[in-house]
């Protein structure tokens, strides 16, 4: 909890720093704050987890692991922000603060133990993002993305809320333990409200994770938002949403698996196919990544579909791998866009000849996203597949395999562009922060790929 408080204070501090025009201090202070939060979380690791504050939050291993992951990724995103926000606006401090706010929301989402906390967490996360997506105020795409995101987000919030209400109507409580107890106490006379509540919660959460058919905002918003915000959205926010999703289902709804699993199954398959097939036809790297994030949501849904003791670990590793790779990919995209002004695949042509380092790290990221062994992405996929097979969804896995093969095609397009398509271009200048992020990203991707125990042992 102290970490969350630290972050809230950090955000306020940043606002003040902005007020006093201490721009130079913003980045170091934010990073320090994140570091402090990570340290605070790590200290909590070994303590026995009990629901705190009248059962509002629970900092168990699950929460701590996902929190640290979110903090770490946010740190990477911050590293990338050098020179980035400056080009957008003078109010850099506010942006930092908003990102921290959104992060706070994410941390709440991963550690909630009461539907009220889930709701508030999600909303903090989302409201901050509505703003961040629109911070390029003169940019039509950014405007449009913000408005679309806001409208659809608000709309889906209604369903989420309706769902929470119905659950409340059935059980009389928002507390996860109480809800679980209700299920245990009435195994045969569960109120219909409860069932519909689950369905509506699935709808609300599917929207947040970008699963079909509630994914429509994802490509447009990811494309329209400033790249750095897209990075944050597709990594931290998605991870947190999944963690929340999983936490809710893992704690409460496991006994009703027979009821909701078919629904999720259909959603998963739809998500996989829509994400992958649409990604095949993209010309913009950024938009391709957006669709790819949809398809990854499909893979991560496997973790919830085959819910069990191993799901948490699987989703954790998967989202870590996916997030790290995405950060690298978006970082390179920022650089390329800066030098060429385009987000299309053609903009990457011949990159390997001039910037072998960039090309190499991006390739590692793409291989990881595609799930090639010796990268973190493979470990994630492997754990997901293991989980699914343990539940004997062999047909589903065959579909997943088909999709994974399709994935190769579009992930490799950028590799093909970088390495195999010659083009006249100048060397892209890369500042130290970017170099560091790319290095860390590639290194971690490979390290986790080779020694998955680094992460897999956490949960």
């Amino acid at each position: 909890m102290s970490a969350i408080i630290t972050l809230s204070l950090l955000a306020v501090l940043l606002l003040y720093l902005g007020l006093f025009k201490a721009k130079k201090a913003l980045l170091p202070v934010s990073l320090l704050g994140l570091l402090a939060a990570i340290v605070l979380y790590s200290i909590q690791w070994d303590t026995d987890a009990e629901p705190l504050y009248s059962g509002m939050v629970l900092f168990d291993h699950f929460a701590v692991a996902f929190s640290i992951l979110s903090l770490f990724i946010t740190g990477l995103v911050f590293l990338l922000s050098r020179d980035y926000f400056d080009s957008i606006s003078e109010h850099v401090a506010e942006y930092y603060a908003l990102i921290i706010f959104s992060l706070t929301g994410a941390l709440l989402v991963v550690s909630f133990h009461n539907l009220a906390m889930l709701f508030i967490g999600i909303e903090i996360m989302s409201v901050a993002l509505y703003i961040l997506v629109g911070i390029r105020k003169r940019d039509f795409s950014s405007n449009e993305a913000a408005l679309k995101y806001f409208l659809m987000g608000a709309f889906s919030t209604g369903f989420l809320l309706f769902g929470i209400t119905l659950i409340y109507g059935a059980t009389g409580s928002f507390d996860l333990t109480e809800i679980k107890n209700y299920l245990i106490a009435n195994p045969h006379s569960i109120s219909p409200l409860f069932y519909s509540g689950i369905l509506l919660l699935i709808i609300g959460l599917s929207f947040k994770v970008g699963a079909a058919p509630f994914h429509f905002w994802t490509p447009d918003v990811y494309e329209g938002a400033p790249i750095l915000i897209t990075t944050f959205m597709s990594t931290v926010v998605k991870t947190a949403a999944f963690a929340g999703f999983l936490r809710l289902f893992l704690t409460c709804f496991v006994p009703l698996q027979d009821f909701w699993a078919p629904v999720l199954l259909v959603i998963t398959v739809l998500t996989l196919f829509i994400g992958n097939i649409s990604a095949l036809a993209q010309q913009s790297f950024k938009r391709m990544l957006a669709y790819s994030s949809i398809s990854h949501a499909g893979y991560m849904l496997f973790g919830i579909l085959s819910i069990g003791a191993a799901s948490a670990g699987a989703i954790f590793v998967y989202s870590a791998a996916y997030s790290i790779a995405s950060v690298v990919a978006f970082a390179v995209l920022i650089l390329v866009k800066r030098s060429r002004g385009s987000e299309h695949f053609e903009a990457f042509n011949g990159l390997a000849a001039k910037n072998p380092y960039l090309a190499f790290t991006l390739s590692v990221a793409m291989l990881s996203l595609a799930g090639i062994p010796l990268t973190a992405g493979f470990v994630g996929k492997f754990m997901m597949f293991s989980g699914v097979l343990a539940n004997y969804h062999i047909v589903l896995l065959l579909l997943a395999v088909l999709n994974a093969a399709m994935g190769i095609y579009y992930y490799f397009r950028v590799i093909v562009a970088m390495y195999f398509r010659p083009a006249d271009r100048e060397e892209v200048t890369v500042n130290a922060n970017y170099k560091a992020v790319l290095f860390i990203g590639a290194l971690l991707t490979i390290a986790i790929g080779i020694f998955p125990s680094l992460l897999a042992g956490w949960l």
Binding site: A116, F119, I120, E123, V127, Y130, I131, G134, K137, R138, F140, S141, N143, E144, A145, A146, L147, K148, F150, L151, A154, F155, T157, G158, L161, F162, I164, T165, Y168, G169, G172, S173, F174, L193, P219, D220, V221, E223, G224, A281
Partner: protein, 109 residues
Amino acid sequence: METVVTNLQGVPINHYILFCSIIFAIGVIGVLIRRNVIVIMMSVELMLNSVNLLLAAFSAYKGDASGQVFVFFVMALAAAEVAVGLAIIVMVYRNTRSVDINALSRLKW
């Protein structure tokens, strides 16, 4: 006042749910059929409010106060959302001179 209230206690909980569902659906319809962003936002408010009422009804039905407390959070959210939403609308309007959602289709495919 007391008597009026007690008189009303005979309403089955199902009717509350049905009523709120209808209002919720009206909100959804509003979102679907209007093009004015502000009206769409109002429809969303309608949806949120129907949920609020349902929460209150359940709260009363269960004799549990947390439902009514939850309504506060929803209201806080509604306020925050409206503030942000209207800010976005204003921003968009400055650029496009329109609040028509159909004008927003540059990002696609």
